[in-house]
Amino acid sequence: APAAEEAAADDATAMKGVYQDLDPDREYYLVSSHQAHPYFLDSHIGLRYAAEYFNVKIIAGGPDAWDTAAQAQALEQTLAKNPAGIIIRGYDASSVDASVRAMEAGIPIVCTEAKPVEGRGATVEGALTFIGLDNYQCGADTSKELVARAGDTGVVGVQGNWGASNTDAKLAGLEDWLADNAPGWTICGYADDKANTADSITAAKSLINTYPEMTAIMGIDSSSGPGIAGAMQELGIEAGTYSVVVHDREPATLELIASGYIDATLINKTAGQEVVAILVMEDWNNGGLKNMPISSDNAAAGINPVPDNMYNSAVVIDKDNVMYFTQEAMPDITTDLYNR
């Protein structure tokens, strides 16, 4: 692990030169709801890296709780500061209008993590590009991973935070793939884990107790992994009894992979999406991306030359590589340029 840390730090300093000469007052923002969620840990790492790497100031703002209206409000008020660019989260459509106005005023916006309108082809209105996980594909990959690990037949229960847009798309991908490619698998039941570990334990226990024939569990919310493992522990079920495939990399989830309760977790390249978002906006501001020869004059032609969607495929963490993902193993980047 220390080796990886050194390598990452080296990379950052090694590349720094390219961006050091630019105006040092460039300020980028990440505006998002739900800042207190552990999911943001990866974003923060990515943004610290990006701040150092590009020598720019980055500020995270927005509500700590789940309040997308307040996110839109924070975005609109951030525009008043005339920042060099803003990363937004498209959890829902409430920030779109402000993004459109920002782009019209020359402030580049990149949408990461979630799209207001799910679906592979959908472009994000008012943003240069979307960078993030393809949730539908991630769902399909989850099923694929399950079949790869647990064989061609089985009975699986699914739990997630029903009612959230990304869960929706993941579930659709998961179900479709199983139906098309794994006739030996059936889904026995669904449970709602309400994005909350305590409720997630309850949900998993309901599945386990209700469906004795169940052989596997898939959990597609970040609380699912700890919930499923917690349920197994409380019910005295040994690790490995169920094939468990989950999503996201909560520290608890990673520990449970190491201890064998969870077979694998599929994660987004979260830190990367933030770094690339800053990269895109830096280059847009420098003129490089803006003037790509799609047309003779992109602005006049009214087109956005940047690719509409940049999809991450999911990264699979299992027993074999989990040590590279734990919090202790991650590089410890400190910077004054980012406020988190």
């Binding site: 309850t202 226990k205 309901s206 386990i208 700890p226 608890a252």
Partner: protein, 326 residues
């Protein structure tokens, strides 16, 4: 005036049928699930449901007491999140577990005292004061959870909820036994002890209680502390169960507890309520969730179902009560 002797008159205490509402509802759902599913009535499932009940149960104790007093504490949900994480934070700062626990409990008591003193001193609606406390504690919890990213609670903390004992060949969580003992003790105390009788008095009419020397303000103040304390204990137990700082813990618990307390017969006007029945109501809500998984009902419908049950139960209660009180 001709005076009938009191002893010749009907002085049997009339049985209050409405107190059975939630018990009948619970039995009905229980019976329905038992009849329609092979997997419902197994030791593991019932044990799980009861164990899940035991966490929010702690919160509902104080919450119900406050409702008996005619007050409400909306900060219980945030308190669930806060107390667990605050204890985690203290551990993270390197304190040994025992002093950390003591400090955490003391802080929780302090927060209850703030709610209590503001409501009692300034005679303002507890709903607004505790709404403020709920907001502030939610902010604090998020601050804590941000600082506790990636921190796993120490073993001593994690160990609180894990012990089991063997009863009839099955391993039962000690927490369940504790819950049952507490319910029994509290239900006994509620009917038989002076302090809880006084709570009912104060809940029904504070000014009257005062005239007869009952320290109404003090009792009310203490009840706010009890409410914060029991919610805080619940939060520490959930923290122990989950084992790391999760900021979504406790969100919406205030409404769940209100639903449970009201289904259990508490009134927003005070003077009524029972811990036993409120606990049964929590179990009832667990049954509903379990039933939805058993019968593969779209989880998105659960809110609608709970909303409708809440309204119908309270409607029936007001109807029946109106018919019997005159």
């Amino acid at each position: 005036m001709e005076q009938k002797s009191i002893s010749t008159l009907n002085n049997k205490k009339k049985f209050n049928w409405t107190s059975l509402t939630i018990i009948i509802l619970t039995l009905a759902v229980f019976g329905f699930l038992w009849a329609t599913s092979d997997t419902f009535f197994t030791f593991a499932n019932i044990h799980s449901l009861v164990y899940d009940t035991s966490f929010i149960f702690f919160g509902v104790i104080g919450f119900t007491y406050l409702m008996i007093m005619g007050e409400i504490d909306l900060s219980v949900g945030s308190m669930f999140a806060f107390s667990g994480m605050w204890l985690g934070m203290l551990c993270d700062w390197g304190l040994p577990f025992a002093p950390a626990l003591i400090i955490a409990i003391a802080s929780v008591i302090g927060i209850g005292a703030i709610n209590g003193i503001l409501v009692v001193r300034f005679r303002v609606p507890s709903m607004m004061i505790t709404l403020g406390m709920m907001t502030a504690l939610a902010g604090l919890s998020n601050l804590l959870s941000t600082n506790l990213y990636g921190y796993y609670y120490p073993d001593a903390y994690r160990a609180i909820v894990r012990p089991t004992i063997s009863i009839g060949g099955e391993e039962v969580f000690v927490l369940i036994i504790i819950m049952i003992v507490i319910i029994a003790v509290l239900e006994f105390m509620l009917h038989k002890t002076t302090i809880f009788r006084k709570m009912y008095y104060v809940g029904e009419n504070l000014d009257t209680a005062k005239i007869y020397g009952i320290k109404a303000a003090k009792i009310k103040f203490i009840t706010f502390i009890i409410s914060a304390l029991t919610a805080g204990i619940g939060g520490i137990l959930v923290g122990s169960r989950v084992a790391y700082a999760a900021p979504t813990i406790g969100i919406g618990y205030e409404f769940q507890m209100l639903t449970a307390a009201v289904l259990g017969g508490a009134s927003l006007f005070g003077g009524k309520g029972s811990i036993l029945r409120a606990s049964i109501a929590i179990f009832f809500l667990q049954l509903i969730r379990n039933g939805m998984v058993i019968h593969n009902i779209d989880p998105l419908l659960s809110q609608i179902i709970v909303g409708i049950i809440l309204i119908i139960a309270v409607y029936l209660d007001t109807r029946v009560n109106k018919a019997t009180t005159v």
